[in-house]
């Protein structure tokens, strides 16, 4: 002790130690920054000294300063020096500093590799431990690569202290250097059985994390973990294992069944809330996929558990209860819906996080029956809510809840409109545009509500000046945009258009944002048209017209002077129009009709997918520039224009989406700049609008803004509450009527359905009749839309068309005897089809079948295998164009004593030609593992022909195989795509290929090989292209078309079916059809035109064909014949 004291005092003579620094900082509270900068200067001096203890002390102080937020990256090299000290004290300090301050970008890390290796192999376990700990924080890909082997050796160190650290750090190494996973995994797996519980739990941790990232590969470990779970008593480890099962059960439904017992046992026996919670999570995860058979029991237990959690006094537990419930809700809304009251109660909680969770839950719980009640409750909360963020959250939730699934739950749109109107009274919300878009959407799509909506909007406009003082700053004024548009567009419903017009032209309006003013002016014009229309009816209205004209000529100049160009332009146009009409009126010319015609035509909503379905007209190249690409500064604007087509097609409400102010300003600025630099542009000395303003001085008129803090109730505006009562009465009436009619029947029905419904609302969902006959206007589709059934799939997903594909009656290729001669029963043929090709042009997607590619896997001769073939007939789905067809399954069993189901990646393939690239074909192959073993290291190779070549990555030789980028657990299928370059497409061809893979089963793994043939038919190069009859006629006349013909006899099909078959299998489209004669057209990916004339008499079909490439035509006709000869 005495020695230490002496040492301490010696140290202090020379320099500050950490304690001094901390004390110093605390004593210099006022000028901390200054004090620290002097300290840093001192530290810099200390670091220059030779003495390692001084350096270590300096580094220690730096580490502290780093925590306070000071940059110490300049001292990285000194840290490395301290790390390499042989003394544990300094080494420890050095590694701590490194772990706190080093990151991937620190360049001195490169210098540390050897030092770290030395420390890892040090005889002192604490040196090793310190190095491992430090490394876990700053490990880089380079370090991982260089040190992976050393760390792997440490996993079998004699000391458990080192083993557990080495196991844990392996996870970091895997992340940075994935190649190390394969060699290290067996050893990692071994550690699951380590005698030391610490090492064991570390291994569980690492494998659990790995499995969470890629569960498929770890399914095989399930039995091992199951054993661990039933034997372990360590809760930390149990939680990890249960979490791991949570990731695995979605892949293996049987696991869910097996888990249910141990999990329920745990749930009932444990007192640890964390373990309980994890069990609940895993049950829910398993439940989401395993259907009714899986964790059925577990779920009800969980739901009641969640409820119990929600009643907990601890807010944390309550929060988790709600969280778990929202997970259950996603798949099993019924089991949660009954707890509506509980959740509504949580809305009153003091804690915002809990309230937000409860709100999330409500979204999934609404039904037609309870929507009004829930929204009413939420509206109360909106009034009470103090924080604006929470209130905004409430507002968006209300709108989300009401508008979900296309307004499915709204029975009374008058009520919804009045809710929206009530929401506009909120002050300071950011979501004005959201309310506005809802108003527009409802008014446009629900025809029955327009009258009511217009009357409400007119009131809103009328009261706008009162509100706009508040509204203006806060973004709620966006609703005026919607209000003005609705009043204008549906002006025929307005009772008093003149009054609304007046409201829209008040001087106060000019304080609104420009884009809203623009809408005001435009819709004032529409209203004016309405006034003129009415004016024709009588003399009294005639006077009104005069007054209106006067009003407009008085008020419009305010807008003409607007600083906003859009407003200015629209207002001047409108003003001129009004003046002109005034003149005509004075000459007693009736103009009502003509002015109305300006705004005639109804706007219909367009389906979001509509644009995509418009077929690309022939000869239109969407990628070609119309004009030459613009020069530099405009390139950005141009980009946004071309991107436009790919975006979701417009919907009416999107049309009104607010134009980004900044962007507008920027463009305006750019344009000004351009004009200024353009010598040919005549510039005025002052911009015109400003000149006006100076004379009128509108800007300088003081405008008093009325700031009202009390939410305004405007007389005449509907309140939503009223509707709740009305609705209730209406439903009661309905019920009474219905009850009278079929009382008995209903009772019986209800009893059979079970009495789960709560008593307050004895009617069932379906019984609730909407108040108005609400026709939500169906969205329009273009007339010549191409039907396809991929509506819901992600349009960006390149694989979306490649569903396990096969056509109902495709040609079945006979087995190729040459290839399968030495196998027992040769080859099964695979009538496979290829699938619709996707042209991802910027405008449209033509999705059509592009088939006839045959894939013929052949057995390798290595094993004697037996094959069974099962054919599954699948129904052609209604209304859908895609046909799913005989999907053949193949199961083989290896005859090696044990009855073992052998795998076969069942490949299904799909050729996609691309119009934009005439020499490229994409083949999608679906591999399906039908066996019970694990397949990995799949490699795909095709023997290239002169004509068709598999495209390999750069640098690969012409015979190298491509590895399939995934592995296949039993029963899993996946798809890989291979690109082929094709020179000539006039001949069909077959490519030989092999697939090699490793079969991994419980008793080892073996290499397997599967031969197959890829059959590129001529048909697969055709793309269905529509053609008009006049273009078709011209095509036939052209000289370079060569003719050929074919004759099919004994065709028993009706003509219609025959045509459909040709079109479907060979990608033709019908140009014209007269009686039993039709002309068809198709085009190859290299632009050959193919015309067919099909005639049908007495079961005999003659096909006269013309094409600019005779051999292609010949082959194609052969293929068509084959199609019919096989059917």
């Amino acid at each position: 002790m005495a020695l230490k004291k002496v040492k301490g005092s010696i140290d202090r003579i020379f320099d500050k130690n950490l304690q001094d620094l901390v004390r110093g900082i605390r004593n210099h509270k006022d000028d901390e920054a200054k004090y620290i900068s002097t300290c840093i200067d001192e530290i810099k001096q200390e670091l220059k000294q030779e003495n390692i203890s001084v350096k270590a002390n300096a580094v220690c102080k730096l580490t502290y300063l780093q925590m306070l937020g000071y940059d110490i990256s300049w001292a990285a090299f000194n840290i490395v020096e301290v790390m390499s000290s042989s003394k544990f004290t300094y080494k420890r300090m050095g590694y701590l500093a490194a772990s706190q301050s080093f990151h991937d970008g620190t360049d001195v890390i490169m210098l540390t590799t050897n030092q770290i290796r030395k420390d890892l192999n040090s005889p002192n376990q604490y040196d090793t431990g310190v190095a491992l700990t430090g490394l876990s924080c700053f490990v880089t890909p380079d370090l991982s690569r260089d040190l992976a082997n050393d760390i792997m050796t440490l996993m079998s160190h004699t000391k458990p202290y080192i083993r557990k650290k080495a196991v844990l750090i392996m996870y970091k190494v895997f992340l940075k250097y994935p190649e190390s996973l394969r060699p290290a995994f067996p050893r990692l797996k071994e550690k699951l059985d380590d005698p030391d519980p610490g090492v064991q739990s570390a291994a569980v941790n690492v494998i659990c994390e790995l499995a969470r990232r890629n569960p498929k590969n770890y399914l095989s470990l399930a039995p091992l973990f199951f054993k661990l779970m039933t034997s372990s008593t360590n809760n930390w480890v149990l939680i990890k294992i249960i979490k791991l099962f949570g990731a695995l059960t979605p892949l293996e439904p049987r696991l869910g069944k097996k888990l249910i017992e141990p999990l329920t046992n745990l749930i009932h026996s444990t007192s640890a809330m964390s373990l309980l919670y994890e069990c609940v999570n895993t049950v829910i995860a398993g439940r989401t996929v395993s259907g009714s058979s899986g964790l059925c029991v577990g779920l009800s237990v969980c739901a009641s558990l969640c409820v119990r959690l929600c009643f907990s006094l601890s807010p944390s537990v309550k929060y988790l209860g709600l969280l778990a419930m929202s997970k259950i809700l996603k798949t099993h809304p019924k089991s949660v819906q009954s707890h509506k009251d509980l959740i509504l109660q949580c809305l009153d909680d003091k804690d915002e996080s809990i309230r937000l969770r409860a709100l999330d839950l409500l979204y999934g719980m609404v039904s037609k029956k309870n929507l009004m009640e829930i929204v009413k409750k939420l509206m109360l909360h909106v009034d009470k809510a103090e924080g604006t963020t929470y209130r905004d959250e409430l507002l968006t939730k209300i709108i989300d809840i009401c508008s979900q699934s296309n307004y499915q739950y709204i029975t009374n749109f008058e009520w919804y409109i009045s809710i929206l109107v009530e929401l506009t009274r909120l002050e300071g919300t950011r979501h004005g545009h959201l309310i506005a878009s809802q108003m527009l959407d409802v008014a446009v799509r629900v025809k029955a509500i327009r009258g009511f909506a217009v009357s409400q909007m007119a009131l809103l406009l009328d009261s706008a000046p009162l509100l706009s003082g508040n509204m203006q700053r806060k973004g709620i004024c966006e609703v005026l945009y919607a209000a003005a548009w609705i009043c204008g567009e549906f002006s025929e419903y307005l009772e008093d258009p003149v009054q609304t017009l007046e409201a829209m032209l008040r001087p106060k309006v000019s304080t609104l944002p420009g884009h809203i003013q623009a809408v005001y002016v435009q819709n004032a014009a529409k209203l004016f048209a309405a006034v003129l229309r009415n004016g024709q009816q009588g003399s009294q209205e005639g006077a009104a017209v005069q007054e209106t004209i006067q009003l407009l000529t008085d008020q419009l100049p305010i807008f003409v002077q607007s600083a906003d160009l859009e407003v200015q332009e629209r207002a001047s146009c409108f003003l001129q129009l009004v003046k002109y009409i005034q003149k005509l009126q004075q000459k007693d010319v009736d103009v009502g009709e003509e002015v109305t015609a300006l705004f005639a035509g109804e706007l219909n909503p367009v389906a979001p997918k509509a644009q995509k379905k418009v077929p690309v007209p022939e000869g239109l190249d969407l990628d070609a520039w119309i004009n030459d690409p613009p020069s530099e500064p405009e390139s950005e604007d141009e980009k946004s224009k071309s991107a436009f087509a790919e975006e979701e097609p417009q919907q009416p409400r999107q049309r009104h989406r607010e134009v980004d102010e900044k962007e507008l300003a920027r463009r305006r600025e750019e344009r000004k700049q351009e004009q200024a630099n353009n010598p040919f542009y005549i510039k005025g000395s002052t911009p015109a609008p400003k000149g006006y303003q100076d004379t009128m001085g509108v800007e300088h008129i003081p405008v008093v803004q009325i700031d009202l803090s009390v939410p305004l109730k405007v007389p005449g505006m509907a309140t939503s509450d009223k509707y709740v009562k009305i609705e209730e009465e209406r439903r009661k009436r309905d019920r009474a009527e219905k009850g009278k009619k079929k009382e008995k029947k209903k009772k019986r029905e209800k009893r059979s359905r079970g009495d789960r419904r709560n008593e307050s609302g004895p009617e069932s969902e379906e019984d609730i009749r909407p108040a108005q006959t609400v026709d939500i206007v169906t969205e329009e589709m273009p007339e010549n839309a191409l039907p396809s059934d991929d509506e819901d799939r992600d349009p960006n997903d390149p694989y979306r068309e490649a569903v396990v594909a096969t056509s109902k009656s495709t040609t079945e290729e006979p087995a190729d005897p040459g290839q399968g001669s030495d196998t027992e029963d040769a080859v099964s043929s695979f009538p496979l089809r290829c699938f619709p090709d996707v042209l991802l042009g910027p405008l449209g997607v033509t999705a059509r079948d592009l088939p006839a590619m045959h894939f013929m896997p052949q057995k390798s001769s290595k094993h004697k295998k037996k094959k069974q073939k099962k054919e599954k007939e699948e129904k052609e789905k209604k209304k859908k164009k895609q046909h799913r067809v005989p999907n053949q399954e193949e199961e083989e069993s290896v005859q090696n004593g044990t009855v073992e189901e052998e795998e076969d990646p069942l490949p299904v393939c799909d050729v996609q030609g691309n119009l934009q690239d005439s020499s490229r074909v994409v083949v999608s192959v679906i591999f399906e593992n039908k066996s019970s073993s694990f397949l990995k290291s799949m490699e795909f190779n095709v023997l290239d022909s002169l004509n068709a070549k598999l495209q390999r990555p750069e640098g690969a030789g012409p015979h190298d195989s491509l590895s399939v980028p995934f592995q296949l657990p039993p029963g899993v299928s996946n798809e890989a795509r291979f690109v082929f370059s094709v020179q000539s497409i006039v001949m069909p061809q077959k490519l030989k290929g092999t697939l090699t893979f490793i079969v991994k089963s419980d008793d080892g793994s073996s290499h397997e090989k599967l031969d197959f043939k890829l059959h590129f038919t001529c048909t697969s190069y055709l793309t269905t292209t529509p053609c008009y009859s006049d273009a078709y006629a011209k095509l036939l006349e052209s000289a370079d078309m060569k003719g050929s013909s074919a004759r099919l006899q004994g065709v028993g099909l009706p003509f219609q079916h025959l045509l459909a078959k040709i079109c479907f299998h060979h990608h033709f489209s019908v140009v014209e059809k007269i009686n039993s004669c039709a002309s068809l057209y198709s085009r190859s990916i290299q632009g050959h035109h193919i015309c067919l004339l099909v005639k049908y008499t007495d079961q005999t079909v003659t096909i006269d064909a013309k094409c600019d490439e005779s051999s292609l035509l010949g082959n194609l006709l052969d293929e068509i014949k084959l199609t019919f000869s096989q059917s």
Binding site: L3, K4, V6, K7, I10, L18, Q19, V22, C60, T63, Y64, M67, L68, G69, K87, F88, T89, R92, L96, S99, Q100, H103, G105, Y126, G129, L132, T133, S136, C137, Y161, K164, K165, L168, Y171, P197, G198, S201, A202, N205, V206, E209, R212, N234, W236, V237, I239, K243, G246, M273, S274, Y277, N281, P315, S316, Y319, L320, K350, D351, S353, I354
Partner: protein, 158 residues
């Protein structure tokens, strides 16, 4: 996996930070500042969890110190709370009824304890005893290291 752990005082002074994933210094500072604001604004009876960016934040207050952990989406919040509590227990055992000042003046020790308890964002050892034993032995090693030096230095002085 835990992404990072922060200890800060009620006044918003950072007392300890440990990052288990690499992040640029600037981003770290921004995250720390933002997170401290959010957590300090919460009232005492509120729940210990919140969603922040794409992470789950679990925090608990012990006396004047907030212990705050960021974990990933799939992690168990309650376990994280236990981790915090376990760490506090370890500090308590090591320092003997720990207080904020202990951590300020011996911040490197606090780090050493944390490093023995957690590594790479995972729990290293679930047994309190073995963690404390490891720390003690490493400390012993450190003192062995130091004593001969001070003797020598004393000799040199003498």
């Amino acid at each position: 996996m835990m992404r990072f752990m922060l200890l800060f005082s009620r006044q918003g002074k950072l007392r300890l930070q440990k990052w288990y994933t690499a992040a640029a210094e600037r981003d770290r500072k921004k995250m720390v500042r933002e997170l401290m604001q959010v957590v300090l604004a919460r009232k005492p009876k509120m729940c210990s969890f919140l969603e922040w960016r794409d992470l789950k934040i679990v925090y608990k207050r012990y006396a004047s110190l907030y212990f705050c952990c960021a974990v990933e989406e799939q992690d168990n919040e309650l376990v994280t709370l236990e981790v915090i509590h376990r760490f506090v227990e370890l500090l308590d055992k090591y320092f003997g009824s720990v207080c904020e000042l202990d951590i300020i003046f011996n911040f490197e020790k606090a780090y050493f304890i944390l490093d023995e308890f957690l590594m790479g964002g995972e729990i290293q050892d679930t047994s309190k005893k073995s963690v404390l034993k490891a720390i003690e032995q490493a400390d012993l090693l450190q003192e062995e290291d130091e004593s001969p030096r001070s003797v020598l230095e004393e000799m040199g002085l003498a």
